[in-house]
């Protein structure tokens, strides 16, 4: 079947990072952005790079998977780095061509931004490579639970997420079949101008939507027949719980924050 079927980039391996609670990884990824904000010296960036590199090594995920995460953003990274290099204010001019001048401060700033980009992408890729989308959904639901107090329908959101993730492979297969059927009738996809591409997707979308609606009707009937009402008092099939390893990660992040603050 289609090799693009994997949602996210999850790589099923058995490592320390894979076994962590999804909430720990989500919170860690967020905390990292906060910590990186304080970094403003070579030493602090070196420490953060070491931390991310260590995480990548412990995850046992081959480096090429991380590099793949950079590819779609390569243009953006190079563009912003060059912009900094050429236009960041600075005193020590290294060289000057016309109105463009490269300063030492600009060079340092561009290097910092480049590293920051890489570290954030690697950290975020580390989360998605080592955590199943369903586990991320469970983690997000658990972290969002306090929002239920301000009437955010956390349970409904979690259920929609789970059902959606369950049906992506099914609908993907369906989309593949529809595409083949339409191509056999002479349709072309992913070719030509934007306008032609737009026209080509209508015969793909209508059967896909109708298929999705049929499945939804069947599932809704089945759920109602089994007495589903709402989330109140429901138990969970997949339970998540913090372990000793999550505590180690928490301590590592506290240590990292302290060290970055001290070095900056």
């Amino acid at each position: 079947m289609n090799n693009k079927l994997v949602i996210g980039q999850y790589l099923p391996l058995d490592s320390f990072i894979h076994r962590l609670d999804p909430r720990t990884k989500l919170l860690g990824a967020f905390a990292f952005v906060g910590i990186i904000f304080f970094a403003d010296s070579w030493q602090s960036y070196a420490l953060l790079s070491l931390f991310v590199l260590l995480g990548m090594m412990i995850s046992s995920v081959p480096i090429r998977y991380f590099l793949r995460g950079i590819r779609p953003l390569l243009f953006l990274i190079l563009f912003t780095t060059c912009l900094q290099l050429l236009f960041a204010p600075g005193q020590t001019i290294l060289f000057k061509i016309g109105f463009i001048k490269v300063t030492e401060e600009g060079l340092i700033q561009a290097a910092f931004i480049f590293i920051r980009f890489l570290l954030i992408i690697f950290m975020s890729t580390l989360l998605t490579l080592t955590t199943m989308p369903l586990a991320i959904a469970d983690g997000l639901e658990s972290l969002m639970r306090p929002l239920a107090k301000i009437k955010v329908p956390v349970h409904e959101i979690a259920l929609i997420l789970s059902i959606a993730l369950r049906f992506v492979p099914t609908l993907m297969e369906e989309a593949d079949k529809i595409k083949d059927a339409q191509m056999a009738r002479g349709a072309t996809f992913g070719e030509g101008k934007l306008k032609d591409q737009m026209k080509a997707i209508v015969p793909l979308l209508i059967p896909l939507f109708i298929n999705a609606i049929d499945r939804a009707e069947e599932l809704a009937t089945a759920m109602t027949a089994r007495g589903y009402k709402d989330g109140q008092g429901r138990t969970k099939y997949r339970e998540i719980s913090y372990g000793r390893n999550d505590l180690y990660v928490l301590l590592a992040f506290i240590g990292l924050t302290g060290a970055v603050l001290w070095l900056s």
């Binding site: 609908l171 989309a175 999705a212």
Partner: protein, 164 residues
């Protein structure tokens, strides 16, 4: 906005279609046009489609390089845009006008995503360029797909589908 079991499941399946289209029809051209942005028009037919749209965006954004950050800020962008659209389109009857306004608001509000990139990298110099490119890509896709959504509505009847 309370959902019946049926509305909840339809939203889930529509979120799945959003994800499938995002994976199936990858970004187009140098502006990285994401054709699945067209689903942002669905809540104009019935507000209850907002759940499916927001969660579809959230899951699809796990694919992006910024991963979890894009999930939060991309979803926030859609949520805030929809709130503004709901407020502004209350008195507009014409669906075509609503679709155009929706496209403009989603494009204008994309400063949230551009701001996220600028904040994450602490590079505010590039902010305006990133903002302009994201806004342009959203506006192009949403305006170009508005007729497609209207064509789909003739077969699927989005408003009635969510009413039962």
């Amino acid at each position: 906005m309370k959902l019946s079991t049926r509305q909840l499941v339809i939203n889930a399946l529509f979120a799945a279609v959003y994800i499938v289209i995002t994976i199936f029809l990858p970004s187009y051209g140098s502006l990285q046009l994401r054709l699945s942005e067209m689903f942002a028009h669905l809540p104009l037919f019935n507000k209850k489609y907002a759940y499916g749209l927001l969660l579809g965006v959230a899951i699809a954004n796990f694919q992006s390089g910024f991963g979890v950050y894009d999930v939060i800020f991309g979803t926030l962008h859609s949520a805030i845009s929809l709130l503004i659209v709901f407020l502004l389109t209350k008195k507009i009857k014409s669906m075509s006008k609503k679709l155009v306004l929706n496209s403009m608001i989603f494009a204008a509000m994309s400063f949230i995503v551009a701001g996220m990139i600028a904040y994450l990298t602490q590079d505010w110099v590039a902010f305006w360029v990133i903002y302009a490119s994201i806004a342009a890509s959203i506006a192009i896709v949403m305006l170009a797909t508005a007729p497609i959504i209207l064509a789909l509505d003739k077969h699927i009847h989005f408003r009635q589908l969510m009413m039962k």
